[in-house]
Symmetry: C2
Subunit: 578 residues, 2 copies
């Protein structure tokens, strides 16, 4: 008799594994159950459906050739029996069967299996806030929520919304609401930054500065949401945050997800401490006939060695293929993840992979990650935009641990991060990035790419050639100016320096870099000298010149004025990027 496969969960990892199984072993019998009526959809696309970029829900449930991925499609095109609206209640491992209830009819049945795939995904974490059960309060976990939110907005019922959580989903929903629909979007985040756990504070600050400049976006960081207020009819009409009330028509819960591992746990399968289902590199659970993949499993962080759960349609799809292969007797592996992530908000893209300096420290690894700012292609090409990157390099081993990048050309930002992501598990050192052979042509890259420059800067820092300070450290010094702690030395041309000289004298000095070696006497020796140029390159050169003359009392502002402005220093006059 042919192999009987049951798959629990039909969104990403489930269908992918099922299709792979049928291609490898057409005679296999594959049954896929899901408690939802929608199956095989692009959940990450929900904010784009709400914004209108994706015109209707079918865009998220259809193939690239516009065929809806419903049960009929899976039967006809894939030979898979899909049972939407059917919940898996229990796994009987001894009898090798899954008890399933058809939710509409209440009928139960037993599905026997030779191999079982658990792809139960994750569920939104519902924070324990009074009022979360009011009408008009939605998580963003499935297409029903998407549809309900879009309907409210499209019908003009939403002038103002509270979004609890400044993770990726929360911010994407804020953009969707504010940008197209003109909704006042209040993002309420407990942490002191957006994208906590995803971006380091410096990159997050740059993104915050960008978000704050958008109409209709209101960031409330370090905010404690006390309760959601209802009207007499059980509808949410406000949110109390740190004692203040915001009137809103819609509340979105975007406070993260938790792996759906209860079914596995109840069946006696091993879970990881983080609550995800434990799997080996073949994505087998503690029962060799049961595989698991997608948001519900715990995977290995290939850099820290720690276990993590990572809700990602992308990882889920890749895991699905590995499971499909292995169910059919193969031995493909999924060793883990480095944590690649990206987001695009109001035209600004941020991406990262691996560890940042803080997360490296938390994993017991001391690292540097100087900020580097450079054009994303030939600086003389009209399409160029500045890119802001931080390469994380371990101090003692010189190993590359991660990269973050931010800029307006989103594909270029993501391209730099992707160029490093695959190298991270291989343990390369900073030299590999210094010499990384990126494609070069003026419209598409730079002769010395920003990635090469980032590696060279980290190398200089590790060699003691460069003493950088961050935009935040600059900002603190600027706020304390006049107290004699330091002086700022601008090494740019006079046209660039003039407004600063006028606004910030006597603390702001000016000696153009190319005259510095002739004017060493003018540089103070009795206090810290903060070197500033447009991008941090000329000021590094100045630091070397001064050091050669015995002046070791300098620090160099990483990324220069470009970084200071992007970061959002309030004193420096905003101006055109160069």
């Amino acid at each position: 008799m042919s192999l009987q496969v049951v798959i629990i969960g039909a969104v990403a990892a489930g269908p992918k594994s099922g299709c792979r199984i049928k291609r490898l072993m057409p005679e296999a019998s594959v049954t896929m159950v899901d408690r939802d009526s929608y199956i095989s959809y692009g959940g990450c696309g929900i904010p784009y459906y709400v914004s209108g970029d994706v015109a209707d829900l079918k865009g998220l449930t259809s193939t690239s050739f516009h065929m809806e991925r419903n049960a009929g499609f899976f039967q006809a095109a894939k030979g898979i029996t899909a049972l939407p609206g059917s919940e898996a209640l229990a796994i009987d491992r001894a009898a090798r069967q899954v008890r399933v209830r058809h939710l509409a009819s209440g009928k139960e049945r037993l599905l026997p299996y030779d191999k079982l795939v658990i792809a139960t995904g994750s569920s939104p974490f519902i924070p324990p806030i009074p009022g979360v059960d009011l009408q008009g309060v939605y998580p963003v976990a499935n297409l029903h929520h998407a549809s309900a939110i879009k309907d409210m907005v499209a019908q003009g019922q939403v002038a103002s919304a509270a979004i609890i959580g400044a993770g990726a989903t929360g911010l994407e929903m804020a953009e969707a609401l504010a940008d197209l629909w003109g909704v006042e979007a209040h993002v309420l985040e407990m942490a002191p930054q957006v994208l906590p756990g995803l971006l380091d504070p410096e990159m997050a600050h740059m993104l915050q500065t960008h978000l704050l400049a958008q109409d209709g976006v209101h960031l409330h960081l370090g905010a404690r949401v006390e309760r959601i207020l209802g009207d007499g009819e059980g509808r949410a009409v406000g949110v109390v945050v740190d004692g203040q009330t915001l009137d809103v028509d819609l509340v979105i819960l975007a406070t993260g997800v938790r792996p759906n591992s209860e079914l596995a746990r109840a069946a006696g399968l091993a879970l990881a401490p983080n609550g995800g289902i434990q799997v080996d590199q073949f994505l087998r659970t503690s029962d060799p006939d049961i595989y698991a993949g997608g948001d519900c499993v715990s995977i290995r962080n290939l850099l820290s060695g720690q276990s993590l759960t990572l809700a990602s349609g992308s990882l889920a799809n890749r895991m699905g293929r590995v499971i499909g292969t292995n169910v059919c007797g193969g031995s493909d592996t999924f060793p883990g993840a480095v944590g690649s992530f990206c987001i695009k908000l109001f035209g600004l893209s941020v991406a990262r992979t691996g560890l940042d300096e803080q997360r490296a420290a938390a994993a017991g690894r001391q690292a540097v990650s100087p900020l580097v700012v450079q054009a994303d292609r030939a600086h003389f090409h009209p399409d160029q935009k500045l890119m802001y990157v931080k390469l994380t390099v371990e101090k003692d081993t010189r190993r590359v641990l991660g990269l973050a990048a931010l800029g307006e050309n989103g594909d270029a930002v993501v391209g730099r991060v992707n160029a490093v992501a695959g190298l991270l598990p291989l343990g390369v050192t900073v030299e590999a990035i210094s010499n990384l052979e990126l494609c070069y042509s003026p419209p598409l890259g730079a002769a010395m790419d920003v990635l090469n420059a980032a590696a060279n800067t980290a190398d200089n820092l590790l060699a003691g050639l460069l003493r950088p300070i961050s935009p935040e450290e600059f900002s603190r010094r600027l706020a304390a100016r006049g107290q004699g702690g330091c002086v700022f030395l601008d090494v740019r041309g006079l046209d660039n320096a003039q407004p600063y000289l006028e606004a910030l004298k006597p603390d702001w000095l000016h000696i153009p870099g190319e005259t510095l070696s002739q004017r060493l006497d003018e540089v103070p020796r009795d206090k810290e000298v903060v070197l500033v140029c447009n991008s941090g390159v000329r000021s590094y050169e100045a630091q070397r010149v001064l050091e050669a003359a015995g002046l070791t009392n300098t620090v160099n502002v990483s990324g220069g004025v470009a970084a200071i402005k992007k970061w959002g220093e309030p004193i420096i006059p905003p101006a055109e990027e160069e």
Copy 2:
């Protein structure tokens, strides 16, 4: 006494090494000579100066902060004595000195050195064609040529131009002339394809189809240029190609470059068989006090192990830094190159790295490289464009040897190639690309990225699950239709298939993929069945279904109709990309 360094050549590797030396060792005395009056310029930007994207020559000779990189700048800002217009005549290794002639005055002098850096670059290869010395015949090797060409064009003297050579420079110049200036640009190439030695024939054909659709671009492939014709006043007025005369006002020689290694050879330094200066991984020549880098050296191809010369401002800059470090006593390495390359022409970008199938075979390595076509981000996102990629994978070792990609979102194309470039020297297998953790968000990537899909397709091919044919093989079969050799089976929806059914019956059959398992009897068993869908995915699925039913007489068109059209099949009606 401080270290005395002489650098011969002041375009890319030379200045980079000099600046690095001064930052590491400020007390060093650095003198840099160049026979040209222009130094430290972005030669790769010349086509963009001719096109007008870069407004004036200063754009190519200035820093990102608009300071001209002339001798005065190098002295003041870098502490480097630059001697433009001064030719190095000979290196006396025993006496450690370089004899230099100031070209304007004819005066000679001797420059003593402790360490010497040779960065003499490359010179255009001037083909032995009668008439190359006529007026109006220019290579594109320096800013004097750039200036002369731009002046002729801007003064309206050029209605028609011949560009000899369809390498990167030739094609970029053709775009510059045709696109902005409306010049009829005839590209004359001896090889049967554009970018010979850079792109495989299939990718080149796609690019050719694109170029042929542009106003004013005329490709003459497999063309033999016999002579350049002059008028009575010594001015070029025509080109004779395969017996036919083209009337032109300008002739551009873009037939490649040769390393400038004569000075090194005359000094007794070892050269590689390809004529480049031999260097070790520290970029030292056969004389340990002499380093060399940039276009003039022979470097190791990290995949084939063969030596190559590669004219690239990008490699030159990276080598310059390594040389600078090592001159100061460091031990940085430059192990070689994998050959990353990109070009953007009339809105279409092509990039590649490593080996293609043909070049792998030439290096004794059997490989596969199926064409894969997929959206470059979520297929439901409005910014998506199709990307065409070929991943080269070695058959027996499953090692990834190279990648080529083509598409309209240039940064996305280059991003995919860059994501693979760094992995190539590390010997990763196809599994590393199947699991490659690219950033995912609908506006910036796909849940199963085209790179992941390319690896999965190569894996399927190696496993015998997929039997692909290329667009060219499809085209040959289509041209021979009606001779009973094969039949075409379209597995798309009827709306897609209808025009083909009408135009190509009775050889074009139609069975939608999702009905195929019910209609097996209708599929011919006595001849080859060529499976066709929009992108090659559904037809792969059909191939698996038919194979399960015992029909092994099928082939699958890689990339489907999208690839066929992009390749430029003349019979298939052109239509919208999907």
